[in-house]
């Protein structure tokens, strides 16, 4: 994992000191709320319905046990004993007092964490594949490049007042777990025909009011030019992006109105001018950052574990958890463990202080001190020995973190919605809870197989509903909560934007609707088809019919 040197530590400490001064100026009345708002937002501090909300960055989703323990302590000391993991590898605290936030940020800085640029019209927390460094699929670990981007984008003087927020995601695996095609910039690290590794650069994806899948503007970018190329993209966007209408200000609008080709030409022209101007990191600095992500020393183990086989045969629940929540590791005898933050009937992404501390302990003992946060609002223990899997399962179960439902119908992404968010039209969480309860039987869930339900409380799409196999969007109809269903979206390598199924449904109808859709799928599926595959083969009609026939 990356560790701060004195420069990194100083930057973060000075940022907290700066914010402490800004808070002081606000409390004394020297700054009005209008003047203070952009400053607090750049430090991740929002005002929600009930209180302030602080969004803390987990750069590219990587956490140490020590950091996770601190997140738990912070939840207890400054909040109400819990935190909420989001779809952008951040954690949000829902109740901190403004006067406490500088101290809170100091506590985070102690463990090399911060809330810098987690909001505002700047380059946000860089996200990545939660299995980075652990999966056999990847070309190489994408996180060193994320860290390079993190440093380059931190307090970037030219790009702190962009037309709109800017999100970058990086992956190095053919299986896209970072949703790179629906980001402002998505980077895919791969090996070209000459055997050289570099990035495919995708620009202009996004969700929100006008969802788009991004366009590839460069097939192959040598790694050493990463930062200068990003700088060229950002400069074109900063100068050309629309600023007259907040809903048209994202880069996706610029790319799609000009056409990807014309946009690419502008970027290439800009890049030609700045490519050799000393923006890119020298080889030594790239190597320095790289070294922090050197793979841990894995024990030489047999890939078979007798302990595991025995427990698998004797404990059916464990066997199911193994099937659904673990993933192949690149080292023999190891596995990747997913921790579901979606207990049946629970609040997606929420985790208590005690649970955070338990996860920290488990990771320290069994996962080489590492934890990951995923964009699906779950956690990952990246390096667990197969021999230890049962012990890990038991320890997770003891704190209610062993729900076996990764990728299943109850592994729902939901934004905070009207229970917390001041922009919401409708609640999201109760819908997630009721769907989860309706499908509580884990055997049934496993039979249904992979099914991604994503729920947003308004068109801002924080819950990624556009890319849900089934998406649910909260709308407001004369003061009443209604829900619009979209079908056939995907945020993975086969990215697509879901289609609206028809008129909005009441909150009672929407849970039945999901059950009807699943019914059509189970009746009509062929072989090993997932819900999405069946939908793509049959088209929307049979699903729409089922939804609206009786309703």
């Amino acid at each position: 994992m990356y560790r701060y040197d004195e420069f990194d530590a100083t930057m973060v400490a000075e940022r907290v000191a700066q914010f402490r001064g800004q808070v002081q100026r606000r409390l004394s009345g020297e700054l009005t709320e209008d003047q203070f708002k952009p400053l607090r937002l750049m430090n991740g501090l929002y005002l929600q319905l009930h209180a302030y909300m602080l969004r803390v960055a987990i750069p590219y989703g990587t956490l140490s046990s020590k950091q996770m323990r601190r997140l738990g302590e912070v939840a207890r000391k400054y909040d109400k004993g819990y935190g909420h993991f989001t779809t952008r590898q951040n954690i949000q605290y829902n109740w901190p007092a403004l006067v406490d936030v500088p101290d809170l940020l100091d506590d985070l800085a102690d463990v090399e964490m911060h809330a810098i640029q987690t909001s505002g019209n700047c380059i946000r927390n860089v996200t990545s594949d939660q299995y980075a460094g652990a999966s056999a699929e990847e070309i190489e670990d994408p996180r060193p490049y994320c860290e390079m981007i993190r440093q380059w984008s931190t307090f970037h003087p030219e790009f702190s007042f962009l037309p709109r927020k800017f999100k970058i995601a990086v992956t190095a695996a053919p299986h896209d777990r970072a949703a790179v095609k629906v980001h402002d910039i998505g980077l895919i690290l791969y090996k070209n025909e000459e055997g050289e590794t570099g990035f495919e650069v995708i620009v202009g994806g996004g969700l929100g009011r006008t969802p788009y899948v991004g366009h590839t503007i460069r097939k192959f970018l040598p790694k050493k030019h990463l930062l200068s190329y990003l700088e060229a993209i950002l400069r074109v966007y900063n100068l050309e992006g629309r600023r007259d209408n907040m809903y048209k200000a994202r880069i996706k609008i610029l790319v799609n109105s000009e056409g990807a080709e014309k946009f690419a030409e502008a970027v290439e022209a800009e890049w030609a001018q700045i490519k050799d101007s000393g923006i890119d990191l020298p080889r030594e600095e790239m190597a320095r950052i790289d070294a922090y992500f050197a793979p841990p020393v894995f024990e030489k183990l047999s890939d078979e574990s007798a302990v595991l086989e025995e427990k698998k045969a004797s404990d059916k629940n464990f066997a199911r958890w193994l099937r659904l929540n673990t993933f192949a590791h690149k080292a023999p005898g190891y596995a990747i463990v997913n921790i579901s933050l979606k207990p049946i009937g629970g609040v997606p992404g929420d985790i208590s202080d005690v649970q955070m501390e338990a996860v920290a302990d488990i990771a320290e003992e069994y996962s080489l001190d590492e934890i990951r946060a995923t964009h699906e609002q779950n956690l990952v223990l990246p390096h667990v020995k197969k021999d230890d899997l049962y012990a890990v399962y038991a320890a997770l179960k003891a704190v209610d973190l062993a729900t076996a439902n990764i990728g299943m119908v109850s592994d729902i992404i939901a934004c905070p919605g009207l229970d917390y968010c001041s922009l919401a039209n409708a609640r999201s969480i109760p819908i997630a809870q009721r769907i989860s309860e309706r499908f509580a039987d884990l055997g049934l869930q496993e039979d249904v197989g992979e099914l991604k339900i994503k729920i947003s409380g308004c068109i801002n799409a924080c819950g990624h509903h556009h890319v849900g196999h089934i998406g649910i969007l909260g709308v407001d109809k004369k003061g009443e909560e209604f829900y619009q269903v979209t079908l056939g979206g995907s945020g993975a390598e086969d990215a697509s934007i879901g289609e609206i199924a028809g008129r909005g449904l009441s909150s009672d109808q929407v849970v039945d609707a999901v059950e009807k859709l699943v019914g059509v799928y189970r009746e009509r599926r062929q072989g090993k088809e997932r819900f999405l595959d069946t939908y793509r083969r049959l088209g929307a009609e049979p699903f729409k019919e089922a939804l609206y026939e009786a309703a």
Binding site: R26, L27, S28, G29, T32, E33, L47, L49, H50, A51, Y52, K80, W95, P96, A97, L98, V99, V347, L418, D419, Y420, A424, R427, I429, P430, Q433, K478, G479, E480, E481
Partner: protein
């Protein structure tokens, strides 16, 4: 009828303007204004920048409960998240 609400500056909690011109956490104790007068009251409240982060008007009925289009939103603000009955003002009741 209208009431003035906002989030308290130092800790962010929901408050309402009371009859004594002080902020209260209890909506039923909030001062109620005729629509015509409310704008001036709000303008005065918004000047109290050291006390409040973001003041605005909400609609209330004769008993002081949230009314109109934003009923659900303001009910959730006055009580707490519907998915965590142990949090917010509802927890103290």
């Amino acid at each position: 009828m209208k009431a003035v609400t906002g989030n308290r500056l130092d800790d962010g909690v929901v408050v309402y303007l009371g009859d004594d011109d002080r902020w209260t956490s209890d909506l039923s104790a909030a001062a109620r204004f005729e629509d015509g007068d409310a704008k001036d009251v709000l303008a005065a409240a918004q000047k109290r920048v050291k006390e409040i982060a973001d003041a605005y008007l909400i609609e209330v009925d004769d008993s002081g409960a949230p009314a109109g289009r934003e009923t659900l939103r303001e009910t959730i603000r006055k009580s707490g998240p519907t998915v965590r009955l142990d949090l917010g003002y509802q927890a103290e009741a």
